[in-house]
């Protein structure tokens, strides 16, 4: 029996729907899968440690034979401080560049700038780390007369440079999505270009811009190689911009290869992975709540 055209179309329609549904579900499955496996590796240790000491102590001596200590307090401070500093640099530049691209620059300059910014996004993080070691570090020593060039500020600078392209491209999309009628209405009311940006575009695009910034945060907090190379990788709570630090991600990258599978050290590194999971989750959740809060208003 041959299928009629109509039946064939109905079948293919169903098939396509199924495929799309699978794609959607797979995203959820993968996230939970990753979470599950990381959790499975780290969980046994969760029962053994004092959670307070784990989170707040700055004693990280995992390789000691007699008295190993597993406090990640300094690592959390390291990760958070480098991310916050990076964002303090990247957000003004990123959002500013996005506004310039979408509102102020001519079409030819725009093409050139976009290509350059995309190029910036394509640089591998290890190359950034290399730049941090060989360019930024001597520069910091020369300009600020600090003893060590690989430090918090160096890492933050690199992270800022790495997240700016993301903030710019997503932010520009968000601004482009604001209907032209808004711009025209504001211009017809006698608003200057800057007033249009400040009073109309930024409020209209704030959700998209927030998403852009948070993607930048995600990029910064998850970055490993560049911070491993450029922050000094030294466990301590920083007291100035030019103190070396160590981050959660860099610790995993540097130490996981040296541990034996199933050891305490191994498990605690997975626990750090879980902690990173939790941090990104909190960042995303806050963003969601903020966006919803804005909408309700």
């Amino acid at each position: 029996m041959r299928l009629s055209r109509k039946q064939l179309r109905a079948w293919s329609e169903k098939l396509i729907e199924l495929a799309i549904r699978l794609c959607g579900i797979s995203a959820i499955v993968f996230v939970f899968g990753i979470f599950f496996f990381v959790f499975r590796e780290g969980a046994p240790f969760l029962a053994k440690i004092d959670l307070r000491e784990f989170l707040f102590s700055d004693q990280w001596i995992p390789t000691s034979q007699t008295n190993p200590r597993y406090g990640v307090g300094a690592l959390i401070v390291g990760s958070v401080s480098v991310t916050v500093l990076a964002m303090a640099i990247a957000v003004p530049f990123g959002v500013g560049a996005a506004i310039f691209l979408s509102e102020f620059c001519g079409p030819r300059a725009k093409e050139g700038l976009k290509i350059t910014i995309e190029l910036l996004a394509a640089i591998p993080s290890v190359v950034w780390g290399f730049i941090g070691l060989s360019v930024v570090s001597p520069l910091l020593i020369q300009v600020f007369h600090v003893p060590i060039g690989v430090n918090l500020f160096n890492g933050a600078l690199l992270l800022a440079l790495m997240s700016v392209p993301i903030i710019v491209s997503i932010g520009e999309d968000a601004l482009k999505a604001v209907p032209d009628t808004y711009r025209e209405a504001a211009v017809a009311l006698g608003a200057t270009r800057w007033q249009v940006v400040y009073r109309v575009l930024l409020p209209a695009a704030k959700n998209g811009l927030l998403a852009a910034v948070l993607l930048g945060v995600g990029r910064a907090i998850g970055e490993t190689m560049a911070v491993l190379m450029a922050t000094g990788h030294s466990i301590r709570i920083p007291h100035s911009l030019f103190d070396p630090i160590r981050t959660l991600t860099a610790t995993i990258a540097a130490e996981l290869g040296e541990t034996s599978q199933g050891s305490e050290h191994y498990q605690v590194l997975f626990l750090i992975g879980l902690l990173l999971f939790l941090i990104t989750f909190i960042v995303n959740l806050t963003a969601d709540l903020v966006v919803k809060g804005i909408r309700r208003k």
């Binding site: 009628t181 009311l189 006698g190 409020p203």
Partner: protein, 257 residues
């Protein structure tokens, strides 16, 4: 022959030609807008009515491929030579065919232009916002929810909001581009009353597809067809049995368009 004392001219347009990327849409328009009159511009779609309005407050500038020649003078000054275009745009209030609420509250929509112009006192703004909303026949409906988003209003209310907004910078000339497209006949009638009142203090230019609206409201009517000004004259003359041009008669009688 003695001509009656001519009213002062607010807008003088001389041989205005406009093209979008080589396609000419206005073929040499010459017309004047007199002070304190309501001038209606009628004509079928695509005849250049909106483009003509845009040339008056230089909103045509935002379209990159538009080329303008000829002169448009507002109060005797060629708009091309105006440095502070924002000032020109504040002088000319513009109401778009479809209401565009800025993504702001009702209050802020109306307070937007005065705030840009430097009015900052809350009390002063409150008075201004109320007066504009009253004039646009919207105050009673929104006075208890001035802080909600303008986009939450119905289409007709939003249109009146844009009228209130256009009045907020105290324009001397008010241009309305098919303002009644999105609103019901009763509201339309109310706004028409408002426009008649406004005539004593400002000049009104209205583009409309509804020829009867022009007949009801306008002192003079201009008929635009395919980028040419067919006829301009007192509304009674344009709508009479013997307008100057045959096309005008056919159009206002509904024989085409």
């Amino acid at each position: 022959m003695v001509t009656p004392m001519a009213a002062p001219k607010r807008i003088e347009i001389q041989d205005l030609r406009l093209s979008y990327g080589g396609r000419e849409v206005l073929h040499g328009i010459t017309l004047d807008v007199e002070a304190n009159e309501i001038l209606a511009i009628i004509g079928p779609a695509q005849s250049g009515k909106t483009s003509l309005l845009r040339c008056m407050n230089r909103m045509i500038d935002v379209i990159p491929e538009a080329r303008v020649s000829g002169t448009v003078k507002v109060d005797g000054v060629d708009v091309r030579s105006i440095r502070n275009v924002c000032e020109l745009r504040r002088k000319i209030g513009m109401v778009a065919p479809l209401p565009v609420g800025l993504p702001l509250s009702i209050y802020d929509n109306v307070a937007f232009a005065p705030m840009q112009a430097g009015v900052t006192g809350t009390a002063e703004l409150d008075v201004l916002v109320e007066r504009c909303l009253r004039r646009a026949a919207l105050w009673d409906e929104v006075k208890d929810r001035l802080r909600t988003l303008g986009s939450k209003l119905s289409g007709g209310q939003q249109q009146r909001l844009t009228i209130a907004r256009a009045l907020s910078h105290q324009p001397e000339i008010l241009c309305l581009d098919e303002f009644s497209i999105a609103i019901d006949p009763i509201t339309t009638a109310r706004i028409e009353d408002v426009l008649r009142e406004l005539r004593s203090e400002m000049t009104v230019v209205m583009v409309t597809n509804l020829v009867q609206q022009a007949r009801r409201l306008a002192d003079r009517t201009a008929f635009l067809l395919n980028g040419d000004l067919i006829e301009i004259g007192p509304t009674e003359a344009v709508f009479s049995d013997r307008p100057a041009r045959r096309e005008t008669y056919d159009y206002v009688q509904g024989l085409f368009g």
